[in-house]
């Protein structure tokens, strides 16, 4: 057994300062890791409207973006040969307050898709077509804007609308 109680016989070999310095160094290293990784990988989370405004003023550069919007079903275009997927998303307000004013996320998504004056953004993605990509789904896409087209590396989709069809005007 390696577990021999030596600590009673050995004289104190270190001072408190040694441990404090060691601890501070480790904590500093961890903070540095977090800070540097965060700056290297931060993505701006924007609405479609903000994206278009910021891209017009050249504020975005080639930064990674994360954009939330409503999928317009008629615009979904998928080529299974090349796995190229493209669709258009419509602007949905970003703040909870605005969403609630519209009557909840499901209704806001519905309004966004059916309002031709909403700002829209074309999205291109290469990969399998996600099961949840359908009309009035909420899409959260990550990637880069190049010109007027958004090249998405990642798609996250949510469908809050399904239930409303079977039970109209449901209060959540």
């Amino acid at each position: 057994m390696t577990e021999i109680n030596q600590f009673e016989t050995n004289p104190q070999s270190g001072s408190k300062a040694k441990f404090i310095i060691g601890g501070v160094l480790i904590v500093a290293a961890i903070i540095y890791l977090i800070a540097s990784s965060a700056t290297a990988n931060a993505q701006y989370f924007l609405t479609v409207e903000e994206t278009l405004q910021k891209s017009a003023t050249g504020e975005l550069g080639d930064r990674d973006l994360r954009i939330s919007g409503a999928v317009i079903g008629d615009t979904i275009n998928y080529n299974p040969q090349t796995l190229e997927l493209s669709f258009t998303i419509a602007h949905v307000p970003g703040s909870k307050k605005e969403l609630e004013a519209e009557g909840g996320l499901a209704i806001a998504l519905h309004n966004a898709v059916n309002d031709p004056y909403r700002p829209r953004l074309r999205v291109v993605h290469n990969g399998p077509m996600p099961d949840l990509l359908q009309d009035e789904a909420q899409a959260i896409i990550t990637g880069n804007l190049e010109g007027e087209v958004f090249y998405a590396d990642e798609l996250l989709l949510k469908c809050p609308t399904k239930y409303e069809e079977s039970i109209p005007e449901q209060v959540e």
Binding site: T2, F7, E8, G14, F19, G23, N41, Q43, E172
Partner: protein, 672 residues
């Protein structure tokens, strides 16, 4: 009828928990044991009462009572019975009742123990568990009521418990059905395991707080709640592993962990819990870190509440979040309240929890455990920071900034690497005093043995990336150290007691269960790490659209597209199933059936991958699309995931380690 009974007993349980809190406070104040016993009986009563509520919900689901909003939401006529039962935790309201029910079960079990020596802790343990239970039941009764019904009136359909004036019951013909993605065996056990883990963290917290409040200076709370902590830990681990397995099998993106906020929220209490399990040993052996252990247990408790809050409140966008709901602010208030109260209490007792010893050397066991804790906290802070980063950046700059998986991977990889290294070094260190030399003397043999990993890795043809080689070496190092520990212990027993190898090994492990059980858990963790290294660093993939009779190639594998079948099932699915042959180096090794299921009730597709798994690698194929006109041209995405099976093997190993650790001793205190 079932509805009234269920709701009635839910409401009564809420009142009973309030009574338990009140009676315990009154009894404690007036030193009146009869009131405390009454509070204890009230706690015992919560379990049968909530069982009635749970049975009522299951009954309502099984009998297709769609006028109940929850039933219409999570169930449908075509769902099989076992899924209907799991629909109990398929959505917000039901899962909260389920959570409360588990807590009531645990609280009742704690109430049943012998309290003779800890009579003073009892009222406080009741107040804390009953208070937590009351909070969750409050949410259920007033905000997320699983018994609320649908009503039709001139304004339309509304949801409420009791009939609004002028409304008649609204009964949908069929329910929406459980989200098809949740109709998977992993989903049947993942939520209960996760919840068991969450809930069992509350018990050690209750004992810790009771000990602080009563001003006890001993470590008794640790001994009492040790087994609870271990159970909590294993269930949190199982919850995580099952969740990963589900993601791997069902979500069909060839991965198991996406640094989703809700995944992280399940990881956070696991991190503090694991740190606690380690640092508590220092308190037991050396009487140090008492204050720190309190901090860890408080954090674990509030991270459990935070985890439930994140899953249930929809505050962050995630695949897990059910919907936005009114309960968010209430959770926030509850966390703020308990965190401030507990930390305030800890500060109040700070001086009572002074260490009995001081750190003496960098390479002593306790210093290495401290380092282990620092690294765990590092991973915790990184993950937590990533989750709240969008909220903070919005507060500070008005601009929501998020961080994705690359952030977490980059920031946590060195910390996790450090933890791996510690897993190898710390078991060979000694308590109290240890130096480079003493540590080196015990470590050089397994260290040399572990270096053999490197030529083996080269021999297998892996030359880059460098960090993969380092990672493989670390796995080898931890395994070598662990085996060495078993070996040395066994050999010394063989010499001392003249036992044969197997008897010696058996006695060694059964005499020092916690120590060797812990080593087996370490072994499980590094095997999991092996799987993670394989999939994270060596995953390859390809995709293509091919006709029946054609093939796709990836690494040494060839996949032939042999056939396609399209059919309806009697549980309401429209199935498109491909038959593909898998050839490895031109030799047929398997036939797989990747498919896409369309669920009529939920109007949603679910992709079910085909997998051919060996210990060396896994071939994972997804049927992405089938050309609807020709019905013969299909698109596949295929992944080659080396070593991934070790993740699941590792999880079995750590379950074995856990069983060894918690197996009850025949005779108490038979050490050495």
């Amino acid at each position: 009828m079932a509805l009234d009974i269920g709701f009635g007993s839910l409401t009564i349980t809420f009142l009973v928990t309030l009574y338990a809190v009140g009676a315990a406070i009154y009894g404690e104040r007036n030193k009146n044991d009869r009131w405390i016993d009454s509070a204890r009986n009230a706690m015992l009563l919560t379990f049968p009462l909530l069982t009635i509520s749970i049975i009522s919900i299951i009954y309502l689901i099984l009998t297709n009572q769609f006028q109940v909003n929850y039933v219409a939401h999570v169930s449908s006529l075509s769902m099989p019975v076992y899924l209907k039962i799991t629909a109990l935790w398929g959505s917000q309201a039901g899962s909260l009742v389920f959570w409360s029910w588990l807590l009531a079960a645990f609280a009742a079990a704690v109430m049943l123990r012998k309290w003779d020596n800890e009579r003073d802790l009892l009222p406080w343990v009741i107040i804390i568990t009953a208070g937590t239970l009351a909070f969750f039941l409050f949410l259920n009764v007033f905000f997320e009521n699983p018994f609320a019904r649908l009503w039709q009136s001139v304004q339309g359909v509304t949801v409420s418990m009791f009939a609004p004036s002028g409304a008649i019951p609204y009964i949908p013909a069929n329910g929406q059905g459980l989200n098809p993605l949740l109709r998977h065996p992993g989903m049947i056990i993942h939520p209960p395991a996760q919840y068991l883990g969450f809930v069992s963290c509350i018990i050690p917290y209750a004992f810790a707080m009771a000990s602080l409040i009563t001003g006890r200076k001993d470590d008794n709370w640790i001994y009492i709640s040790r087994r609870w902590t271990l159970w909590a830990w294993v269930f949190l681990s199982l919850g995580l592993v099952l969740g990963m397995r589900w993601a791997y099998d069902v979500l069909g993106w060839g991965g198991y962990w996406g640094w989703d906020p809700v995944e992280i929220s399940a990881l956070l209490p696991w991190l503090t819990g694991t740190a606690f399990l380690h640092s508590v040993m220092i308190q037991e052996k050396r009487g140090m870190f008492k204050q720190w252990n309190m901090v860890l247990i408080i954090l674990t408790y509030d991270l459990v509440i935070f985890g439930t809050f994140l899953t249930r409140s929809g505050v962050l966008s995630s695949v897990h979040a059910f919907s936005t709901s009114a309960i968010g602010p209430l959770f926030f208030a509850f966390i703020a309240l308990t965190l401030t109260a507990s930390l305030g209490l800890l500060l109040h007792r700070w001086d009572d929890l002074k260490s009995n010893n001081e750190l003496k050397s960098f390479f002593s066991r306790e210093a290495l455990f401290l380092l282990n804790n620092l690294l765990f906290m590092g991973v915790l802070v990184t993950s937590f920071w990533g989750v709240i980063f969008p909220l903070i950046s919005e507060l500070v700059s008005g601009q929501k900034v998020t961080v994705g998986p690359p952030f977490y991977e980059r920031a946590t990889a060195p910390l996790l690497g450090g933890l791996m290294l510690l897993m190898g070094v710390a078991p060979l260190s000694v308590w109290g005093y240890s130096s480079w030399k003493t540590l080196g003397r015990s470590i050089w043999k397994p260290f040399l043995a572990s270096l053999l990993t490197i030529p083996v890795v080269f021999y297998l043809g892996i030359w880059k990336p460098w960090y993969a080689i380092v990672a493989f070496w670390m796995v080898g190092f931890v395994i070598a150290v662990t085996v060495y520990e078993f070996w040395c212990g066994t050999i010394s027993r063989m010499r001392r007691f003249k036992e044969n190898f197997f008897v010696a090994l058996w006695k060694l492990v059964t005499r020092y269960r916690r120590r060797y059980g812990g080593y087996i858990i370490h072994l499980g963790m590094v095997l999991m790490a092996l799987g993670i290294i394989g999939i994270e660093m060596f995953q390859t993939d390809t995709q293509g659209t091919i006709d029946v009779g054609e093939y796709l190639q990836l690494d040494e594998y060839t996949m032939t597209f042999d056939d396609i079948a399209i059919f309806d099932t009697n549980d309401g699915r429209y199935v498109t199933r491909a038959v593909v042959g898998i050839f490895k180096n031109d030799e047929k090794v398997s036939e797989l059936y990747p498919r896409r299921d369309y669920f009529y009730d939920a109007r949603q597709y679910v992709t079910v991958p085909g997998m051919r798994s060996t210990l060396a690698d896994e071939f994972y194929v997804i049927l992405v699309d089938l050309d609807p006109i020709t019905r013969a041209i299909a698109t596949f995405k295929i992944y080659h995931n080396p070593l991934v099976k070790w993740m699941w093997v590792g999880s079995w190993v750590f379950i074995v380690g856990f069983i060894v650790t918690v197996w009850p001793d025949k005779k108490p205190h038979t050490r050495r």
